[in-house]
């Protein structure tokens, strides 16, 4: 069995930042592996360690700079990686769900995996839609927000738990091939070992353009325009206690006594 993991590099914003137009100024951003994708990689690697999956391949849409993030996935145990990039994607503020679906679907068709794992959402744009969209596009089954996966795939079924609201889980059986969007907490992602990091440098990282995977430029036109970005208005009546830790904690102490919840 083959597993393919969609891995995204996301941008984290510093505590203090400035907005330039419809973007956060670059100097306030840092890149990291999407938190949810870290759990997806771990799940695939555990499937391989359990002897169920033979090969774990990752796919990333992104420019050369994100190769460090891809190497993190390789260092944690993925076998090889594919990176898709193209000049036409350069300058796009955001790549929308439909465009990602086209690109990832083309790679998945070529790779023909039995199982595709993605994160539930990307920590930066939080669309939380790509995995299910890809599944539908390919005619695969899918499960969104999966926090448990049985590792036996009896009768060609993936038995999953989907984490619903309010601490309730839905138990669902899905026919393979399937796309699962992985929720945090499903496993304990490992840290890459030094050996893993060294090995990752030698693993295959294949770079492809849209034409290499047969996606026409016209299929990836973004369907919306980002027209504004701003900081949300803060509730104006928040009282910020000023002073050093001693002073602020006594103000908090006073409030707790006033409310009668602590003595």
């Amino acid at each position: 069995m083959k597993a393919l993991v969609a891995v995204k590099e996301v941008m984290l914003v510093e505590d203090e930042f400035e907005i330039e137009g419809v973007e956060i100024a670059e100097q306030h951003l840092s890149a990291d592996l999407n938190e949810w994708d870290g759990y997806a990689i771990e799940e695939a690697v555990e499937l391989q360690e359990d002897g169920i999956v033979d090969e774990v391949v990752t796919v990333t849409i992104g420019p050369e700079e994100c190769e460090q993030t891809i190497r993190q996935a390789l260092a944690k145990g993925a076998d090889r990686s594919i990176r898709i990039w193209d000049d036409t994607l350069e300058g796009a503020d955001l790549i929308d769900v439909d465009a990602k679906t086209e690109i990832l679907s083309a790679v998945i068709e070529e790779e023909n995996p039995d199982l595709v794992l993605t994160g539930v959402q990307a920590g930066d744009d939080s669309f939380a839609a790509t995995g299910v969209s890809v599944a539908e596009n390919l005619g695969f089954q899918w499960g969104a927000v999966v926090n448990h996966l049985e590792h036996d795939f009896e009768d060609g079924l993936a038995s999953v738990h989907r984490e619903l609201e309010g601490g309730i889980e839905e138990l669902t059986d899905l026919e393979l091939p399937a796309v699962l969007t992985i929720q945090t907490g499903i496993n304990e992602p490992r840290y890459a070992s030094l050996r893993g990091i060294r090995q990752a440098q030698r693993k295959e990282l294949d770079v492809k353009t849209l034409s290499d995977i047969g996606v026409d430029e016209s299929r990836i036109a973004t369907e919306f325009e980002l027209t504004d970005m701003y900081e949300p208005e803060s509730k104006s009546d928040t009282t910020i206690w000023e002073g050093n830790a001693g002073e602020t904690s006594s103000k908090l102490g006073e409030l707790l006594r006033d409310k009668g919840v602590a003595q």
């Binding site: 299910v132 138990l171 059986d173 899905l174």
Partner: protein, 317 residues
């Protein structure tokens, strides 16, 4: 004319609150250009649900009974067929875990764009302007779409529609292709943990990823003991296995309504806030003055928790 099709959410025999919020959001959108609001209820006790959802603003309620519970294959088939019948401009669904399990599939099948987790919507009849957050709530963005769109809405952003209305209720004769059903819901399970019920506490000391290391949790336990408070947390603490699942506050954890909620090193992501915004008084201790938790806090200390918490413990010893 902008017609809207909104999809209700239910689970284990109960309509979920967002169904009524969808009516308000859908009505607003339809009103902006004088269109109709259609509601669809798929599976479960549809007639009972239709009665409950019959609120002012809804024009037609379509019911489809094809099993008790949610099944994304059935939802996808039904909504696609209804869309072809009614030709609404917008399909509105909840941004719930189930909404996210079918809305992207519908968008793909119908070749429509999808915008998720919206908190405000506006249309002039031609284009749609959707407001949503990015970077964990640090910024808001507006996004403009032309043409028809699939939209998921965030819970608790629109008021629930309350007044009983006189919508037409029509069973919709969907043709379900059984061969295309590749998923089966086999049951439900409730999260288990210890016997502490954080939803009963008056004072919650809640800790988030700002604690950094498991060992540092002792400091917070110490604070909770000193204040005689109950210890709860954001999700990453539970994901790391540092606290049991029944201590998690939020959308996928518990909803709490204490007198005082002290959020320590918690950013205030929407899924966390969903579980604690009903607290009487909210206090945030966070180094980041721009953290979204600051927007809902009544009082805030912008400082390092490792400086503030020891002082606070001393204060009460």
């Amino acid at each position: 004319m902008t017609d809207v099709l909104a999809v209700t959410d239910h689970r284990r025999g109960d309509l979920r609150d967002i169904s009524y919020e969808l009516i308000t959001a859908g009505r607003e959108l339809a009103d902006e250009t004088g269109g109709d609001l259609h509601l669809v209820i798929i599976n479960g006790p549809v007639d009972r649900f239709a009665q409950k959802c019959n609120r002012v603003g809804v024009d037609t309620i379509h019911t489809v009974s094809y099993g008790e519970e949610f099944n994304h294959d059935i939802y996808t088939q039904v909504i696609t067929q209804l869309y072809h019948n009614l030709a609404p401009k917008y399909i509105l669904t909840p941004n719930s875990v189930n909404g996210l399990d079918y809305a992207p599939a519908i968008a793909n099948r119908l070749d429509l764009p999808i915008v998720t987790d919206t908190i405000d919507l506006e249309t002039d009849g031609k284009s749609l302007v959707a407001t949503r957050e990015m970077y964990g709530g640090k910024v808001e963005t507006t996004n403009q779409y032309e043409g028809n769109v699939v939209v998921t809405i965030r819970g608790a952003e629109w008021p629930a529609a309350e007044v009983t209305g006189d919508a037409k209720v029509k069973p919709f004769d969907a043709e379900i292709d059984e061969d295309a059903i590749g998923s089966t819901v086999t049951g439900f399970e409730e999260a288990v943990g210890g016997n502490v019920d954080i939803s009963e506490a008056d004072l919650l000391v809640s800790i988030g990823r700002g604690i950094e290391e498991k060992e540092n949790l002792d400091l917070i336990r110490n604070l909770a003991d000193t204040l005689d408070a109950t210890l709860s947390s954001s999700r990453p603490i539970v994901d790391n296995g540092w606290l049991p699942k029944n201590r998690q506050v939020g959308q996928s954890g518990k909803v709490v309504t204490p007198e005082v909620y002290i959020a320590i090193g918690i950013s205030g992501a929407v899924q966390h806030v969903a579980g604690m915004k009903g607290s009487d008084t909210i206090i945030a201790i966070n180094t980041d003055p721009n953290a979204p938790i600051m927007d809902i806090a009544d009082y805030a200390i912008v400082d390092d928790l490792f400086d503030v918490v020891p002082e606070l413990i001393e204060e009460f010893q």
